[in-house]
Symmetry: C2
Subunit: 188 residues, 2 copies
């Protein structure tokens, strides 16, 4: 292991996002990210497998957060209420990393392959949420439908939030979108 | 153009699916597909850009079918009812190609990259459906939420249908899944 660098990971993350935004993801090298962060490539690779991982390393933590929230919802909570609890927790997490999340989203939105990776991440989150609901005794296909509906709400609320810096906070947008989904599926 | 081959496209499609199922998608070459169909590679490439297109060329027709059905739903139809009409039409189309659709699904399910391509196709269908709803005057985010909910129903009903050869037909599974989604989002 090399010497300890204060907040090396955070510095690398910020430098990478700046460069992806300035030059584009494809045009940025790991060497440039490390240089801007005042660190070495070797240090970069101690923290991230490659330059895409800077954008996607949070997926695992997000999945855990969502699954734990569904699993921890009160026993009496209906499937969609357990999902709503999870969306609320996730929304709060993104609010804490507001600036990072918005910049990351702009980089992903500008790049076809990264947008595809994001879709795959969302599908994987939906599968994990469905598993968490089955763990609460929810039968199929209700578990998968509730999970997919939850991810649809997440996706659409997130897009609105990322696109409007002065708008409502993410947990509120999640709740509004879920209400809207309830209304639209009810046939209103 | 070469000489006319009776049902060359259908023969290539069937040969490709047989080979993908027998050997795996990666292990199959275009030369082998053409040979099994009793045709030349040249003929294959008159019909398909590559061996993946045999599996995905139907996406465009499906998109048109769904979008036309949403656009053509009665003016008085609520957004989710317009989506339900589209799912019904799509279900009928797949029933007519039942054997092909099920075999295709098994090939796609067995291959990570093809599964990813399928997710991207579904996301693109959701975007087109949302556009068709906006064309009917449905505001955002209701249009996108109804479209995403419709694609969730499509995905889950399709999986059930593909996995159970003796089960209900696809239009019926689509209706059941939509009813289930309505129930689960209503909090039942």
């Amino acid at each position: 292991m090399g010497r300890w660098e204060p907040d090396a990971r955070g510095r690398l993350e910020r430098s990478a996002l700046e460069l992806y935004a300035e030059r584009g993801f494809d045009q940025t090298t790991v060497a440039e990210i490390a240089r801007r962060a005042g660190l070495t490539e070797r240090t970069f690779f101690r923290h991230f497998a490659d330059k895409r991982e800077v954008l996607f390393h949070g997926s695992h933590a997000l999945e855990e957060l969502l699954v734990d929230a569904v699993a921890g919802a009160p026993d009496t909570a209906a499937p969609m209420d357990a999902i709503a609890t999870a969306l609320d927790v996730a929304g709060g997490m993104f609010e804490e990393r507001r600036e990072f999340a918005r910049r990351r989203n702009a980089v992903v939105a500008a790049h076809a392959e990264l947008r595809e990776r994001e879709l795959i991440k969302l599908a994987s989150l939906a599968a994990s949420l469905a598993g968490a609901l089955r763990g609460r005794g929810v039968a199929e296909p209700a578990a998968s439908l509730a999970a997919e509906a939850g991810i649809a709400v997440f996706k659409i609320a997130f897009e609105r939030w990322a696109g409007d810096a002065d708008g409502p906070d993410l947990p509120r947008l999640m709740r509004e979108s879920l209400d809207e989904l309830r209304a639209v599926t009810a046939g209103a």
